[in-house]
């Protein structure tokens, strides 16, 4: 029986394939078959996160940007610059999410890192400060 491959190795292989320009459909089909064969479909969410991380290490960053209101183009560009500065990314994909629960400010989630300057987060931290 072959040794179980770690998630990191699997996702690095997938990221390499994507960067090399292999067709997305083929890569996804390969991964799906592997997960079913090794009964690891429950790790799907984590594998997606790890692929995002592996891609970010290769210069492709997918950023989820959360704010209470729609962002202006100027702000979006500023966010893009900030991510580029912090990650040395060559390609940045931004996903904009509007969530009124954050009250104000902005949250940027990139693989394994987060920038949270939302009012909700600050209030939460303040609440825990003296606990």
């Amino acid at each position: 029986m072959p040794a179980r491959l770690s998630r990191r190795k699997v996702t690095e292989y997938i990221a390499d394939q994507l960067i090399a320009g292999t067709r997305h459909d083929d890569v996804i089909r390969q991964l799906a078959a592997y997960l079913i064969d090794t009964r690891r479909t429950n790790e799907l969410e984590l594998i997606v996160r790890d692929i995002e991380y592996a891609l970010s290490e290769r210069g492709v960053v997918l950023a989820h940007v959360t704010s209470a209101f729609d962002l202006t183009e100027t702000t979006k560009a500023a966010v893009r610059d900030m991510i580029a500065n912090h990650t040395n990314a060559e390609t940045i994909y931004q996903k904009q999410l509007v969530d009124p629960d954050v009250i104000g400010g902005i949250r940027i989630d990139i693989p394994s890192r987060s920038f949270d300057s939302t009012i909700a987060h600050r209030l939460n931290t303040l609440m825990n400060y003296k606990k």
């Binding site: 770690s6 984590l46 996160r49 825990n128």
Partner: protein
């Protein structure tokens, strides 16, 4: 209701806001994948360090954990609080520090948990400094050999197995044989003899009722002012039991590093090993002998190695350790006992049989040893204790042999008689540690045959009479003797004359 201080509130709020401003940035984050039995498995946080503190954001607040398993795909972290509020999907951040506890003189007289939070209801503890829970032991060149005595006040120990400052002396025995009692007496003796040694008592998974009784007793004896009690109960998470001795050692190290002397009492390391085994099994580390993980030796060796006598260059402070190990049916060859025996500088073995024969403290003269304390024994006690240990060991063997017949030569008979008297003499009630002069006078009287005519059953009465008269008639001489120097001829003469007088009243009829 306490008066609300607006200035204080404003100051705190400003500090909190400043703290917030400082921390906003691109932070490493992870996510809880699964949680249970006090262990959280975290995805992400690839830059987390071993033992680093993690903060898990739950709906109701933040729960802290520390990373113990750094694996390729995930991190196993042990929660420092309850796992009830933590759920899969919670965000996890790095705190950026290793685990620290408050240290300093502000902790004296307090009962705290392993994170330094007060348990005694006496208000917050405002220390100025923090100490690392896991810290490397002092190096070779920064140490000095053990040479100063740490008097326990227990005659059997101070005379036969002396303990020096900076030594690690194991106290081992079955349940209910007086292990904790020995350490309490040692703490009391530090206060009575005004040695200035700070006591740090660590209760690892001890019943809280027992801890409460201990604290009451220490208060009663006036010892609590120079004592810190770090308490964990069986209902605490295994992580707290695991941390307790390390956190307490950090508190003790503060005094060691500030030219003072501290005494650590780990009660007990058997429960500590069990808590670590529980954590390791939950972290899916491979089990070894008795299901303990492979690094259970290192668990205790790195803890006890922190006890040391510092060099003069570093101030000459010391940290002495009295770890306790509970054996099952007197089996000292079990896994954890043999480990700790090999780590420490000697052991005091308490025997159940002796305990039930009324010989208390039930110290086994044959199996106990102090490997480095000889150099630290006070000259006064050393001058009278000589071959006390050998004599007592031989007596116990001879006594069991003599049960088979009565035809014994005179030399053997006298050895047995002397042994009986010595055994009686070394019996000592709890909470009554003896000073140096009391030990010297008592041992001298018996080992030099001054009490040979006293019936063994009256030895304790004769000892009391001897000490009372010596104190009444030769107070100054005894005070000088208490300094620990070798007894002068005048002091010896005083002891001999009083002992001879006293023995007449207690003759064997």
């Amino acid at each position: 209701m306490p008066e609300l201080s607006i200035t204080e509130l404003s100051k705190d709020l400003r500090a909190a806001i400043a703290n917030l401003e400082a921390t906003v940035g691109l932070e490493s984050v992870g996510v809880v994948v699964r949680v249970g039995d006090g262990v959280a498995w975290i995805h992400g946080l690839r830059d987390a360090g071993y033992g680093e503190v993690l903060q898990i954001e739950t709906k109701t607040g933040t729960v802290e954990a520390f990373a113990l398993n750094l694996m390729e795909d995930e991190i196993g972290a042990v929660l420092l609080g309850t796992d009830a509020e933590v759920s899969a999907g919670n965000t996890v951040r790095l705190k950026g520090t290793a685990l620290q506890v408050p240290v300093g003189p502000e902790l004296l007289g307090r009962v705290v948990d392993p994170l330094g939070r007060p348990l005694d209801g006496a208000g917050p503890i405002k220390t100025k400094q923090f100490g690392l829970v896991e810290r490397e032991a002092i190096g070779v060149m920064d140490r000095k050999s053990v040479h100063e005595p740490l008097m326990t006040g227990i005659m059997a120990i101070d005379a036969m197995f002396p303990i020096g400052r900076g030594q690690r002396e194991l106290i081992i025995g079955d349940r209910q044989t007086g292990k904790t009692a020995l350490t309490i007496d040692t703490m009391i003796n530090q206060a009575r003899q005004k040695t200035g040694v700070v006591n740090v008592y660590v209760a690892i998974g001890q019943k809280l009722s027992k801890v409460a009784r201990l604290v009451d007793r220490l208060k009663e004896e006036g010892v609590m002012d120079q004592t810190i009690v770090v308490a964990t109960s069986p209902s605490d998470p295994a992580s707290l039991l695991y941390l307790a001795p390390y956190a307490a050692t950090a508190m003790g190290e503060y005094f060691r590093d500030n030219k003072q002397h501290a005494l650590m009492i780990y009660d007990d390391l058997t429960k500590h090993a069990v808590a670590y085994r529980q954590m390791s099994l939950l972290l899916r580390r491979p089990p070894g002998r008795e299901a303990y993980p492979g690094d259970v030796f290192y668990l205790h060796s790195r803890l006890l190695e922190r006890s040391a006598k510092l060099s003069d260059k570093l101030g000459g402070g010391s940290l002495t350790a009295l770890p306790i190990i509970e054996t099952q049916a007197g089996d000292i060859s079990a896994y954890i006992p043999t480990n700790v025996i090999s780590i420490t500088d000697g052991q005091i073995f308490l025997e159940t049989d002796l305990f039930y024969q009324g010989i208390r403290p039930a110290i086994s003269a044959g199996l106990s040893v102090s490997r480095v304390g000889g150099a630290a024994q006070t000259k006064a006690v050393k001058s009278v204790s000589g071959n006390l240990k050998l004599g007592l060991s031989q007596f116990r063997e001879l006594a069991s042999f003599a049960q088979f017949g009565s035809d014994l030569d005179e030399a053997t008979k006298s050895q047995i008689d002397r042994g009986r008297r010595l055994t009686e003499l070394l019996k000592q009630p709890q909470y009554q540690p003896a000073g140096i002069w009391e030990q010297v006078a008592s041992i001298y009287a018996v080992t030099n045959g001054l009490f040979d005519k006293v019936a063994p059953s009256h030895i304790k009465d004769a000892q009391t009479a001897l000490l009372t008269r010596l104190w009444a008639e030769h107070k100054d001489a005894m005070r000088t003797l208490n300094d620990g120097d070798k007894p002068t001829d005048a002091q010896i003469k005083a002891i001999e004359s009083v002992a001879n007088h006293v023995s007449i009243g207690f003759e064997d009829k």
